[in-house]
Symmetry: C2
Subunit: 130 residues, 2 copies
């Protein structure tokens, strides 16, 4: 292990239905919700999640920030290296997500594919390297 310099970069996923999305990510990805802040109107203004050591945040869409459902797509893909990508893709589909590229062995080695969650965010999942 090497020293880290403390610079961090976390993706912040804007979604339509953040509470449902958190439930999905928990069930499909094994994400753990570590913080949630809710506004007066019930919308989630900030929540933090972890998949193992990998962290991300989320919020309900609002006038400033729009979801993939509103924009008609997403321009930041999420590259997730985890264990058990085949089972992960199956869980995504069983919970209402879709397969963009099936899980397969990659030419350059490794195994992975791409799934879209029910909220329009796209996850490039690859088998974690030991």
């Amino acid at each position: 292990m090497t020293e880290t310099d403390g610079v961090t970069l976390l993706p912040r996923l804007v979604v339509q239905g953040a509470a449902e999305a958190i439930e999905f990510w928990t069930q499909a990805f094994g994400a753990e919700e570590t913080a949630r802040y809710t506004g007066e109107n019930g919308a989630i203004v900030h929540a933090e999640l972890a998949i193992g050591d990998a962290r991300f945040t989320t919020k309900d869409e609002d006038g400033a920030d729009r979801s993939p459902a509103s924009l008609g797509g997403t321009s930041v893909l999420l590259m997730l290296a985890v264990d058990g990508v085949d089972q992960l893709a199956e869980r995504v589909v069983s919970l209402g997500g879709t397969v963009v590229y099936p899980i397969a062995d990659a030419e350059e080695g490794g195994r992975g594919g791409r799934v879209r969650d029910p909220f329009g965010h796209e996850w490039m999942i690859s088998e974690r390297r030991a």
Copy 2:
């Protein structure tokens, strides 16, 4: 420092003009390009960048993946904790980006704001905690 479990999550920024974007991120954010793969048509199909320890990847938009310019916005914000956010915001503007929320002291402590790069990706920048 604690052991890490090897699960990683990297944002993958789809852009219109990836070569120009890499140049921008290099100059504005101090990013270092660590890998680049170019397709037969000259488009960047994959590039890897690092801002200190924080890593992300990018690609030119194509038929499958669309940029913020094409979608009319972005639904994954990028939360970057670094040193010198005031100077960073100034560099972003001087290089053609815009300020979404000015750099200011936050109620909850810390200092930060939000900038948009010339390619439509939005960066929530906050001063790194020591």
